[in-house]
């Protein structure tokens, strides 16, 4: 693997800590939206090939994935994804919309509602990271995507072995069959830039 993308222990710790802060804000936002306690997992940071990343996301290969995808741009760039594992979509939508709407209207609003949740959670994570790194990021409009992990990550044959950085954190609602996974993917040139931003952040801490 390219030595330029390997992380030193301190860089790794800094990324995990910044992800923890950003996702903590995202969890607080989700909790406010749903009026439920949200449990957060430990952040995961891995350097993988795109194909390995797809395998990683396919927790239930027999089921298609429902996800919200947002491309982000700036000094480093990539894809932010919020993956939903919902055994009961209507229960989740009712928690979110807090209105006694008929089921057919809720189903009509599903994509819109999930995009709004995705936008809020992914933005909380990304832009908190940007604030802490003193960088400016922009994001595209959220996309509602479904399919296999390979389809969602839009992996073609030439990209399968490309190395990417995968950052992941899981959200779960206690007593409800609702889990969400936030994933951030950076490709090789972006990883190098991201490391540079992390080094600047660490440099300021040492001053």
């Amino acid at each position: 693997m390219d030595d330029n993308i390997q992380l030193e222990e301190l860089q790794h710790d800094a990324i995990i800590e910044l992800l923890n802060i950003g996702m903590g804000k995202a969890a607080a936002s989700l909790s406010l939206m749903l009026n439920e306690e949200v449990k957060l997992s430990i952040p995961r940071l891995e350097l993988l090939t795109r194909q390995q990343a797809a395998n990683h996301l396919n927790t239930q290969p027999q089921q298609g994935i429902v996800a919200i995808k947002q491309y982000f741009h700036g000094p480093f760039w990539g894809e932010a994804l919020l993956l939903f594992q919902l055994d009961n979509n209507l229960e989740f939508l009712r928690l979110l919309i807090k209105d006694n709407l008929p089921s057919d209207l809720l189903i009509e609003l599903e994509a819109d509602a999930l995009m709004e949740v995705g936008n809020i959670i992914l933005s909380a994570g990304l832009f908190s990271l940007a604030n802490n790194l003193n960088e400016e990021l922009t994001s595209d409009l959220p996309l509602f995507v479904t399919g296999t992990a390979v389809e969602i990550l839009e992996i073609n044959a030439s990209q399968k072995n490309e190395v990417i950085m995968l950052l992941r954190m899981d959200f779960a609602l206690e007593n409800k069959d609702i889990s969400l996974y936030a994933v951030f993917i950076l490709d090789l040139p972006s990883i190098k830039q991201f490391k540079s931003s992390i080094d600047q952040f660490l440099g300021k801490l040492r001053q």
Binding site: S29, D112, M115, N119, I120, S123, F127, A130, E136, S139
Partner: protein
């Protein structure tokens, strides 16, 4: 509050529904105009007086900051809030520079009514 005309602009229908529900629940006399983007908002407000506007930032076409500056040119006394998930300091600063209020998403009754009555 009966004379208020509140413009709500967001490309998310769910977000517009949430804001409208909070306003309706508080005071059904307040008139709410919804638009899904900036162009629609400008078109729908050509012949009316907007006193309060709640604008999403990231929308197809013009963003909420551009829309805010156009609305302020048309309604200089309007109170405008930028309702956004983009919590970057730079966005807060841009909102502040325009003289509008930064309202972070998610949408809550406290945040929406706090802006309207604050």
């Amino acid at each position: 509050m009966t004379s208020h005309m509140i413009l709500v602009v967001d490309d998310s229908r769910v977000s517009r529904m949430l804001v409208r529900a909070i306003i309706d629940h508080d005071n059904e006399q307040i008139q709410v105009i919804e638009a899904g983007n900036g162009e629609e908002a400008l078109s729908k407000t050509q012949d009316i007086q907007v006193t309060i506007a709640i604008l999403d930032l990231n929308m197809p076409g013009m963003d909420g900051l551009v829309l805010a500056s156009k609305l302020l040119a048309r309604f200089p006394k309007a109170k405008i809030g930028l309702l956004t998930a983009n919590v970057q300091d730079i966005v807060r600063e841009k909102a502040h520079a325009l003289g509008i209020t930064f309202i972070p998403k998610p949408i809550t009754e406290e945040r929406i009514l706090g802006f309207i009555y604050g």
